[in-house]
Amino acid sequence: MAFGSTEMKPAPFDYHRPATLEEALALLERYEGDAKVLAGGQSLIPLMNMRLARPAALIDLERIDGLSGLRFDGGRLHVGAMTRHMDLEHSAEVRERIGILSDAMPHVGHLAIRTRGTFGGSLAHADPAAELPALATLFDATFTIAGPTGTRDVPWSEFFITFLTSCLEANEILTGVTLTLAPPHAGWNFHEIARRHGDYALAGCGTLVELEDGGDTIASARVALFGVDATPVRLLDAEPLFAGRVPAGAAIDDIAAEAAAKLEPATDVHGSTAFRRDIARRLIASGIRDAAAHAAQRRSPAAVHA
């Protein structure tokens, strides 16, 4: 061989490709916390290439039946953990019924990341600067987690613990996520500020707004931010304050400023805490206004679905 075949980047590990979830869970037990679950590998393999992660074993979920796919069920969307980003991106039904997800998908990494990366992998990785964890909070996600003693359902508020840390135990596997869809007349907005398309965002925001019947007043609003704290942030305290306001009013800016002041974004080479708070303030206010305008557009008879 021209180059020899002994050069390898990741440290040694045992590779397993189980055919069933039960087999995968048994393998996790066998390695007693030293094994990692491999989904799309777009975050884990880089860490292993740099030997920042050195698991004793990889349990590859790729060939387990039933872990991928989208299923709409009444007012809910079930997303299998191994569903590839590109499958969400190209789904006409996702575009029709949860369009903000379609708007967000092109911002998730790059094309060649989305062909391999998975919905469950992104959520389990729990990067607070990533798009999908924040959108999961926006739709009150429930996480279905399989473990040695059975399956448990965890609300989003208990799933994300801190930076790159979820509530998943070492012997558990995230199998799917259930999103509660917004009413059909809700408007939405997705916006992120990044240095380069596809890079991690400095900060970003997903917004859902419902207007009162026949009026311009906000009936309800939901706001989720990423890149602004150690976990994705849902503005549960501020959301009720938007109700009863008109989108053009100055009150929107005041509520946004107050909510942004409570965020704790880290200072790094890309931006200071104060800079990120300022981005968040602007994203919250513009998100509310743009989502309200979108809601008005969607209910008008001549509505063009964005």
Binding site: M1, P46, L58, A112, I113, T115
Partner: protein
């Protein structure tokens, strides 16, 4: 020596292969070092630069972020597959040359494989959309204008390019 060895069968550039690989061998190193298809270039080795992009079942994929063992049962295409049997340059490659879409050439195989997938999709993208779709590939000779012009010409035809 490791005992974590795995038998795999796959198709590379239209030909079937069977090999035995270490579980920790990256697809990029497998393609270059073992199969000796050195047209696939390796840059950052952690999924940022896009140089090592190959097609897996038709989808552009970073071969440094995939294990060789995961190629089992898959169809892999590399730049060598674009011009089989020393044929003249493929239309996309000819357009890259015409528009000076490469300088040092290190990133070029990755760009060509990403662009090949875009062309096969049958979509007609604007130059702005082409830039977005190719944003996962980095060129440090800053040859993006030529690259985008080359993809635009093959995708949309000569004389139909729009302004950037």
């Amino acid at each position: 020596m490791t005992t974590d060895r795995h038998d795999i069968a796959f198709t590379l550039n239209g030909k079937p292969y069977e090999r035995t690989v270490d579980g920790r061998l990256l697809l990029s190193d497998f393609i270059r070092h073992d199969l000796e298809f050195t047209g696939t270039h390796v840059g950052c080795e952690h999924g940022v630069c896009g140089s090592c992009t190959v097609l897996v079942d038709g989808n552009p994929t970073r071969s440094c972020l995939m294990l060789a063992v995961q190629a089992d049962g898959r169809t892999i295409e590399t730049i060598e597959g674009l011009t089989p049997d020393s044929a003249p340059l493929a239309p996309l490659q000819a357009a890259f040359r015409k528009h000076h879409g490469l300088q040092c050439g290190y990133c070029t195989p990755g760009f060509l494989m990403t662009a090949t997938a875009l062309l096969r999709s049958g979509e007609h993208l604007s130059q702005r959309e082409i830039r977005e779709a190719m944003s996962g590939n980095l060129c440090r000779c800053t040859g993006y204008s030529g690259i985008v012009a080359a993809v635009d010409e093959v995708m949309n035809g000569v004389g139909k390019t729009d302004a950037v």
